[in-house]
């Protein structure tokens, strides 16, 4: 393939870019469905207990109201179906503040919102379990076998005998995804079939979740999700709002639209859980690690467990003979936590890579040298060889590009006026996988012009799926990109993996490539001819005068891929400026060097990585969802309180990619970028803050009050 690559690897602009900037790309509730009624969710104002009674009389009489739906009149749904987080109006029990307890359907959004406020709820309140500091003492081993303790050697002994060690606790707060497009759905029934216009990171997953919950067969549910306005994990699984829209549309017998408000987003679609991580590291005086323990305590929903894998980076990053990874979890009256960009790795790397920086400082060793010294030849936990590993390259190329040699090893040595300047480094990693996917390739010839359509139920989070698939198909079929139409985001298309867990680009591009190879093979066979050099599908359509031809490929992980440990890797470099008086921190420069296999499109890849960096900076400096433990409500309740970074918070961001192809992982040598972009970022910033000020902040976010 290498010799005829033309489009793959080129910095092509998004082919859907014009549609988006001109407002022609239809997001969930933009779809032109007629006669739509509007639904408004209303939520519990207690965190624990049950609804004794609910008075909907005034709301039902309010202007424009078509229906008020509560647990009293909602149809029975399958709560064990694929919808995450419950809250589907199936019982009067309240398990978290802001749980959906009903919805009003009206002619207009304003009428629905107004009527929702006329509803009176009589609660039987119970004492909520929402105080994490107190409850964390009750935390137990998770039920999830993937979160069982993983031990190697004798950590205790190694720590007791250590020449140098760090034993510290690192705290990360709850965070919210807050995609630009809040969760929104239009439901339209035709007989016993429902179409759900609803943005989904896993299109087939959303179809199955909705069907199983609504007691329908998958073929009775169609998900239409051509574009997503971001998701960051919150649209990976689907939440109650999806099926409640379908329920409402059925009950009022016309299409219904439900768009969550930004405020409702705080307790509707999951969150990143709060983590209390104890990291213990031990090393010899020449900087060889002898022990690594990473013990996470966190919370989950009251009757539903989810624990993000904070110890994952610690499993694979460093060569260490004695190791312990453990989790403890306590149920709380807080919405179910869920996958959030770099699940476990972004939070876990903050703890691990801060501790590595602390130990390097104690050892009086450069933190890059310290990491390289402990580079593992194989995956230290599974013992498998790496499919490829680029940590050292990322560190070395990054150090050069960033000007690491200008860093002063001692803190508070670089002062410019009223500012202290500091440099920090941190590494990250995320597993690379190809997931089962199918794709249809259709070729059409009109005269001398051949066009192709690629169809699969893939998702584009806004990261460039359309574009990379057009690039892949163009090369594999021998056609220019403008002859390729990409159709994705519809469950009527062949099922595909999701844009989750960094499997999207790998799974989609490989199956499209496989389908293009297969269609070429089939056209060659159909021709009955022998070829000296392999023709392209486009050439065959012309030479064989075929007018229409199509084929479907069903791909799964490359045989033998699981004999390797496959991960993307990065190294992050931050330069911060800390105001000595006010404690305000600004990240002046950030460099992310990433080894993620073959880069399909350097332009969209760059955007994806700097997007991860921006969120990582937010995680480091400003993002935090705060719960009032008395009542379980979020006191951060809008984007004015929940501080995502503003433009002014972000200095220069640069992304460099290591040139590599990981052919052990999949045919195209891709590894995925979405998750790894945020991993290690917050630690790099925190380490830079230490280098600037001498203050080690182990509790994110690093707000001014923590530095004065």
């Amino acid at each position: 393939m290498e010799e005829k690559n033309k489009m793959v690897g080129m910095p092509v602009s998004r082919i859907d870019g014009i549609l988006k900037v001109t407002g022609k790309a239809d997001y969930s509730v933009d779809h032109p469905v007629t006669n739509v009624a509007h639904a408004m969710i209303f939520k519990s104002t207690i965190a624990a207990g049950k609804i004794r009674d609910i008075d909907t009389a005034a709301a039902e009489k309010a202007p424009g109201v078509l229906a008020v739906i509560t647990h009293k009149n909602a149809p029975k749904l399958n709560e064990k179906g694929g919808i995450r987080g419950g809250a589907m109006l199936q019982s009067p029990v309240i398990e978290f503040y802001g749980q959906h307890i009903g919805l009003v359907v009206a002619e207009t959004f304003e009428q629905a919102r107004h009527a929702a406020r006329l509803i009176k709820v009589d609660y039987e309140e119970a004492s909520p379990r929402t105080h994490f500091e107190k409850l964390s003492k009750e935390a137990v081993t998770p039920k999830d076998k993937e979160r069982a303790d993983v031990k190697r050697g004798d950590v205790k002994a190694a720590l007791a005998n250590a020449e140098y060690k760090v034993e510290e606790v690192y705290e990360t707060p709850m965070e919210h995804h807050h995609p630009m497009e809040p969760h929104a759905t239009i439901a339209e029934w035709k007989g016993d079939h429902v179409t759900l216009y609803n943005s989904a990171q896993i299109v087939s997953g959303a179809q199955n979740a909705a069907a199983s919950t609504l007691n329908l067969k998958p073929e009775q549910v169609r998900i239409v999700s051509p574009y997503l306005g971001g998701g960051f994990g919150s649209k990976g699984g689907q939440w109650a709002n999806l099926v409640l829209t379908a329920v409402a549309a059925k009950m009022v017998n016309r299409p219904v639209q439900l768009a969550l408000t930004r405020h409702q987003m705080f307790n509707s679609v999951g969150l990143r859980q709060r983590n209390h991580q104890k990291v213990s590291l031990a090393a010899t005086k020449d900087g060889k690690l002898t022990a690594l323990a990473h013990e996470t305590t966190t919370h989950c929903a009251i009757d539903n467990e989810f624990v993000e894998p904070c110890g994952d980076c610690s499993k694979v990053m460093y060569e260490v003979p004695n190791s312990l990874i453990s989790y403890r979890v306590v149920p709380m009256h807080i919405i179910l936590p869920t996958y959030t960009r770099g699940p476990g790795k972004s939070t876990g790397s903050f703890a691990l890579e801060s501790a590595m920086d602390e130990l390097a400082y104690k050892l009086k060793m450069d933190p890059i040298e310290f990491r390289i010294k402990n580079e593992p030849e194989r995956d230290p936990t599974s013992g498998k060889p790496w499919s490829s590993r680029t940590t050292v390259q990322c560190l070395q190329e990054g150090a050069k590009a960033f000007g690491w040699e200008k860093r002063k090893p001692e803190p508070r040595q670089n002062q410019q006026g009223n500012y202290l300047i500091g440099y920090g480094v941190a590494c990250g990693t995320y597993p690379a996988h190809q997931r089962p996917s199918s794709a249809l390739v259709k070729l059409d010839r009109k005269g001398n012009e051949v066009t192709a359509t690629v169809e699969l139920a893939a998702a584009d989070l806004g990261t460039g799926t359309y574009t990379i698939l057009a690039q892949t198909a163009a090369d594999a079929l021998g056609l220019p990109m403008n002859r390729i139409t990409v159709k994705i985001g519809d469950s009527d298309l062949p099922p595909a993996a999701g844009s989750v867990g960094s499997v999207g680009a790998t799974s989609y591009a490989n199956v499209v490539n496989d389908a293009c190879i297969k269609i070429t093979d089939e056209l060659m066979a159909k021709s009955g001819k022998q070829f000296f050099t392999r023709p392209t599908a486009a050439q065959l359509m012309l030479s064989e005068k075929v007018t229409e031809f199509q084929t479907r490929a069903d791909s799964k992980e490359l045989e033998g891929a699981d004999e390797y440990s496959s991960h993307s890797f990065n190294a992050n470099f931050a330069e911060v400026r800390v105001d000595m008086y006010t404690g305000m921190v600004r990240v002046d420069r950030f460099l992310a060097v990433t080894g993620a296999g073959k880069i399909l499109n350097p332009k969209t890849a760059n955007s994806q990585v700097i997007g991860g960096v921006a969120w990582g900076i937010g995680m480091a400096l400003s993002e935090e969802s705060v719960v009032d433990p008395r009542w379980g409500n979020f006191v951060t309740r809008s984007l004015a309180d929940y501080h995502v970074p503003s433009n002014l918070d972000i200095g220069t961001m640069e992304a460099i990619f290591i040139r590599e192809e990981d052919k052990h992982s999949n045919r195209l040598g891709i590894k995925g970028l979405g998750e790894v972009g945020i991993v290690g970022v917050s630690a790099a910033v925190a380490n830079a803050v230490f280098n600037a000020t001498g203050k080690r902040i182990r509790e994110l976010p690093i707000t001014p009050d923590k530095l004065i």
Binding site: H114, H263, T582, G583, L621, N633, S646, P704, D705
Partner: protein, 335 residues
Amino acid sequence: MRPFKYTNAKDVPSATRLLTANPGGRFLAGGTNLLDLMKEDVERPNELIDISRLGLDQIKTIATGPHKGGLSIGGLGKNTDAANHALVRQHYPLLTQAILAGASGQIRNMATNGGNLLQRTRCPYFYEVSMPCNKREPGTGCGALEGINRLHAIFGWSDKCIAVYPSDMSVALAALDAVVRVRDAAGQERTIPFGDFHRLPGDTPEKDTNLNHGELITAIELPKNNFAEKSYYLKVRDRASYAFALVSVAAALEVSNNRIDQARIAMGGVAHKPWRALQAEQMLVGKEPTEANFRLAAEAAMADAKPLEHNKYKVELGRRSIVRALQVAMDGKRS
């Protein structure tokens, strides 16, 4: 939001008459805060009287009266225009800095000068209608007092309310001894010194200001001063833009022969109103503008602070911010 009547006022007399006649009504100008609060069900007016087309947006030098030579800023002018007006930039750069430190460009383009003064607190317990809040619903209690109060007051609070007042612009106006000119339905005008315009919560936190129902802010008047060379607005916040102040300081100095002739220090983010550090200002008069003296003033300014469970940092941050703001003001920097 709840249904309400919309009335387009023709002129100032009819606007004030309409509002005076309806105790449940509210003026609508930029709407940047009021409409938010209505969507949240916090504000529930039965009528909005639109005053956005009444003019009252001029910025001009005051020709007569006690503030002759000062500047009059129209109550219905936009924040963006006030911040960028040549006379404001030249004579009251502190005000320019404070306005531009607040909100976002889009919001400042809509928000009016009078409306900025009437912003309500961003206390989350005020916004969340299921929570107790004496300001929103007198008698229900203060949710923040024993709740999450990292952003709340350290001066002048009561056990009825610990909210802080959010405006940046007003902190500069307090430092500049501005005067608020208002007019009522009878056509009577009165002026309210800025320090008397906003209230401390006491037992009536529901009342933010001493403006009477039906009165319209026609102008904000700035007395002439000599602070333009040496003033600075410092805002410390959780992110660089679009965040309310943890602590802010409007500092202004008049210095001759290396002695401070006049000093002004007003703080934001610390009380239910812009907080003037009058004692600290007095301490500085006649002194040399040195860091040591600034520190003494800052100590005095923060001496009476009564922090709550989560906002103890504001005391030290306040001290540091006062020193820093005075230093930058002294250096004549504009950054």
